[in-house]
């Protein structure tokens, strides 16, 4: 049960639409992203007078990803609002995306009047049914008096336990009807009571197992960031002194500069991070979920490792990988409890981790993530991303689209702080980066926000640059323009004999990205030569009163390495085409 602050408007007569806005205010919403239409129109009248900042987007998908970006940066629920039918279905991708990455999101949609539901009315879509599979929960509200409770429950469900998206669909007649505002003083959901504090026995078992292990590795997932547990994690790592890997969703949860940080595991992970998981005798899994992109072929993943699996979601335990010690609870609570328990266990027995650490650190030194510059002297996409990271600094917030540029942004930018790396990990949503950057900048206006985007991704959601230009949201967008759907092209190179079916976008010819940016009220820049790279980035950094778009025209054939091909074992990691690490020179 959660208790709620009761607003002064309680007991006041108003219509359902006003009660919706009062409810959002009572839920401490300060900004929402949306676009009006017929069914939600009653709500937009009281929005006009509300203290809540409403940012009018150009496409509802942009509203959804912006709300996600806002949520990822602030840790608070992001809010988006749309009308019925196509307005609502345009939110489907962001809701699915937020579900896959456990983002607290509340989506409000208008629905046709309750009497018209089920008649194939104009702009009618069963958005509750459509979003059932990937929302954490959803509501269809047909009575004005039910609006405050549904909104209160939506925010509670979205932000507690394992965070997730919640949709509140409200029939137009419920928005128009007269009601008395009644914000609930407490929320009780018989079927929902997330376990926050872990069991003492589980903590003790985990500590004992860690203290017996000779080859432990911290397998850190995005849950550490959701739980704001980075500081506690750093303490835990110091106590044990074992290597750390951070997944794509956890970049920034633990500083890249830390000597024990081996980098990112998975399909495009570092040799050291992938190998550490494969050869470990214990995975200390913290808020990670054994995704197929991390495990590779599951039957060959970490076969000699025992598993401690700490997660707030019981359904993640034993889903993909058996957990010897499951620990259910909030990760900050879990790690905080584990620190003294581990100290006590280590005071009784402390195996020497030196040989294990040394072999992993040797791998890290032997096989750093790197790249070769193009032979023809053209611009290297990895160099562009690396220099943006270096020039912009570690307080910058980075978002990305999905594909090669996303992997390079995770590999070649150094992340030191949580909530500075936002991407679409589980869903792999092309077009996520730009609207997410918009939401991130709104959530953290004093931070520099760079969207590292691809030329393909950019062309999916760039309409939100207009929103950014008109609403003083000066984001910076780096288009890593290799005139291709680069990751798909890479797979065609590797697995389809270089038959480049429908992956050439010709985006060095059309569109003219700088002119497109200028047309949308942004500054458009272009860079084609390595010698102009730093000056172009610095020029972009110097513009803070307008969004900036830089067309980095890069070499087309660069590939993402290392790579574990889909469906193969992590043991078959390649550091370049047909090139495995020299395992004989390593002591594992």
């Amino acid at each position: 049960m959660a208790t709620q602050h009761v607003p002064t408007a309680n007991g006041t007569a108003m219509n359902g639409a006003t009660s919706l806005v009062k409810s959002l205010e009572a839920a401490n919403v300060d900004v929402m992203f949306g676009l009006p239409g017929g069914a939600i129109l009653p709500a937009y009248d009281p929005i006009f007078d509300s203290t809540i900042r409403h940012i009018l987007v150009r496409h509802e998908q942009g509203a959804g990803h912006a709300a996600t970006g806002y949520a990822q940066v602030t840790g608070r629920a992001g809010v988006c609002i749309a009308t019925s039918g196509p307005g609502a279905t345009n939110l489907v991708t962001p809701l699915m995306d937020a579900g896959m990455d456990s983002v607290p999101l509340v989506a409000i949609t208008g629905q046709v009047p309750s009497a018209a539901i089920g008649t194939d009315a104009f702009q009618e879509a069963d958005i509750r049914g459509i979003t059932m599979p990937f929302t954490k929960h959803n509501f269809l509200v047909t009575k004005a008096e039910d609006i405050p409770r549904a909104v209160a429950e939506a925010f509670h469900i979205a932000t507690s336990g394992r965070p997730g998206p919640v949709l509140v669909d409200i029939a137009k007649d419920a928005l128009q009807a007269q009601t008395t505002f009644n914000w609930p003083s407490k929320i009780e959901l018989a079927g929902y009571n997330p376990k926050i504090v872990p069991d003492n026995q589980a903590i003790a078992d985990a500590a004992t197992l860690i203290a017996q292990s000779k080859k432990p590795v911290f397998y850190v997932g995005g849950g550490v960031i959701k739980a704001n547990a980075s500081k506690e994690l750093a303490q835990l790592v110091e106590i044990l002194g074992a290597p750390v890997v951070t997944t794509l969703m956890a970049r920034g949860a633990f500083p890249d500069s830390h000597p024990l940080h081996l980098g990112m595991p998975g399909m495009h992970g570092s040799v050291a991070a992938v190998t550490a998981l494969q050869k470990a005798d214990l995975l200390i899994t913290l808020g990670a979920r054994f995704d197929d992109r991390v495990t590779g072929k599951l039957s060959t993943f970490a076969v000699n490792a025992k598993v401690i699996h700490a997660d707030i979601d019981p359904a993640e335990i034993n889903k993909n990988k058996f957990a010897d010690v499951p620990v259910i609870g909030d990760l900050r609570e879990t790690i905080t409890a584990l620190i003294p328990a581990l100290k006590a266990a280590l005071s009784k027995s402390q195996p020497d981790l030196t040989p294990w650490n040394n072999s992993m650190l040797k791998l890290k030194t032997s096989y750093p993530v790197g790249y070769t510059l193009p032979d023809d002297g053209s611009l290297s996409p990895q160099a562009v991303i690396e220099r943006i990271g270096q020039i912009s600094g570690t307080d910058t917030i980075f978002t990305s689209g999905v594909g090669q540029h996303q992997m390079w942004a995770s590999q070649f930018i150094s992340y030191e702080h949580p909530r500075t790396w936002l991407n679409s990990g589980g869903a792999g949503t092309m077009g996520y980066g730009l609207p997410a950057a918009m939401g991130a900048k709104v959530g953290s206006p004093d931070s520099t926000v760079w969207a590292i985007d691809g030329d393909g991704c950019f062309q999916m959601t760039n309409q939100e640059l207009v929103t950014c230009a008109l609403n003083n949201i000066p984001i910076k967008v780096a288009i890593i323009n290799n005139e291709s759907l680069g990751m798909v092209r890479q797979w065609q190179t590797l697995f389809y004999e270089g038959r480049y079916s429908n992956t050439s976008l010709e985006s060095k010819r059309v569109p003219n990205f700088p002119m497109l940016a200028e047309a949308m009220g942004c500054v458009g820049l272009s860079c084609e030569r390595p010698e102009d790279l730093d000056a172009t980035i610095e020029k972009a950094m110097s513009i803070n009163d307008q969004p900036v778009v830089v067309d980095f025209r890069v070499h087309r054939d660069a590939m993402v390495w290392p790579m574990v091909a889909a469906g193969t074992s992590n043991d078959e990691i390649m550091i370049a085409r047909a090139t495995a690490p020299d395992w004989d020179s390593q002591e594992l």
Partner: protein, 94 residues
């Protein structure tokens, strides 16, 4: 045995059958039979579901069911008697 019978108490609200049956469909769990009926509490309905596991773990089926906000409690029926679900999955309810 791969067929198990679950007695599931759910919120009596529109769409709850779709939530449960949709979960089984999207996670490829096989329902042999499903019966829904009232309880003495008008706000709560009871579902009796026979699930044919066919390679899925009962623990995982129960954990995923438990994630549905509308699901209040889950018990396994063995020879007509209720058997509390194994506590290897510390659940949301207790």
């Amino acid at each position: 045995m791969s067929i198990h019978t679950l007695e599931v108490l759910v919120e009596n609200e529109p769409g709850v059958l779709a939530r449960v049956s949709g979960l089984f469909a999207r996670r490829a769990y096989n329902i042999d039979t499903l019966v829904v009926g009232p309880t003495s509490n008008p706000e709560v309905s009871k579902m009796v579901i026979q699930v044919n596991l066919e390679g899925h773990s009962l623990e995982q089926v129960i954990a995923q069911l438990d994630k549905l906000i509308s699901v209040i409690s889950i018990e396994e029926l063995v020879d007509g008697a209720k058997k509390p679900v194994k506590d290897t999955q510390p659940d949301y309810q207790n």
